[in-house]
């Protein structure tokens, strides 16, 4: 299987954005405007390529999860489509689209790991059961996938909150209770 990865051009563009971001974060005013220009020029293409990559990757995961069952494959594809539109919302920005793809892809990975683990819990012949070593690796991987999913959701929420300029959802309530007379 050919490895799914971004093109060299996209990787170069990302490296340039990263470099300019570092400079902008360090207070170079010129870098900030250069970053804005670079982002405007390269962001749509990189986002489009990364989204295509995500969809291809999801298809690979779906095929592994469905294990050759066309109905299961279709159901998972439909579920991902639904999830994608629910998370992205009605009018997503390119960045929101990319973060949505990331959430959907990691969700698919967690589902796949769950499915494979559930299969192991059934009545399988000894020869098909995971070795203890593999199971240990597997559970670690599953835990990591859950962490990645939560972090991806948090990232999208953060971008939405910051871009919509809504302050942190924190409310401080102060209640003053006056002392009853005579006390």
């Amino acid at each position: 299987m050919k490895a799914l990865e971004l093109s060299k051009e996209a990787k170069d563009q990302l490296a340039e954005l990263e470099d300019l971001s570092d400079k902008a974060a360090n207070g170079h005013k010129q870098a900030r405007s250069e970053l804005r220009r670079a982002l405007r020029v390269s962001s749509p293409a990189v986002v489009a390529e990364a989204s295509t990559l995500a969809k291809k990757g999801e298809c690979v995961l779906i095929k592994t999860a469905a294990a050759g069952e066309p109905l299961m494959e279709e159901a998972l594809l439909a579920r991902l489509g639904l999830l994608r539109s629910e998370i992205a919302g009605p009018d997503p920005s390119p960045l929101e689209l990319l973060l949505t793809e990331k959430i959907v892809a990691v969700w698919m990975l967690t589902e796949l790991l769950e499915l494979l683990l559930n299969a192991q819990l059934g009545d399988l012949p000894k020869s098909q059961r995971m070795s203890h070593r593999f199971l240990k690796f597997y559970l670690g991987w599953q835990e990591q996938a859950h962490r990645r999913l939560l972090s991806a959701i948090r990232e999208l929420a953060r971008v939405r909150r910051l871009e919509s300029r809504i302050p942190n959802a924190q409310t401080n309530v102060q209640i003053n209770v006056s002392k009853p007379d005579g006390d």
Partner: protein
């Protein structure tokens, strides 16, 4: 002279040699141990391949995460945010 067969047994972090037998008995025990060893190797090979296959299937996530991270950071920086103590904050505009 008939060959002796000793089986290696792990005891904690050490290997102990255990005398099994000599002659036909030793040969049968050696053949059985060899068979078990090959079965274990085959099993380990199968799970190793399975692990590599899964890792290859999910390798694209790494690329996707890196791209998303770089683009998110760049987008927030040009939108007037900066990271302070691990938190993204809006840069205050000077009066």
């Amino acid at each position: 002279m008939s060959p002796y067969y000793y089986r290696s047994v792990w005891e904690g972090a050490r290997v102990r040699k255990e005398y099994v037998g000599t002659g036909a008995l030793g040969e049968v025990a050696a053949a059985l141990d060899e068979l078990k060893r090959r079965q274990r190797e085959e099993e380990a090979g199968y799970w190793r391949e399975e692990r590599e296959r899964l890792q290859r299937s999910a390798a694209f996530l790494q690329e996707l995460e890196e791209a998303a991270q770089i683009l998110t950071r760049a987008q927030l920086l040009v939108s007037g945010f900066h990271k302070r103590k691990g938190e993204w904050r809006r840069i205050r505009e000077s009066a």
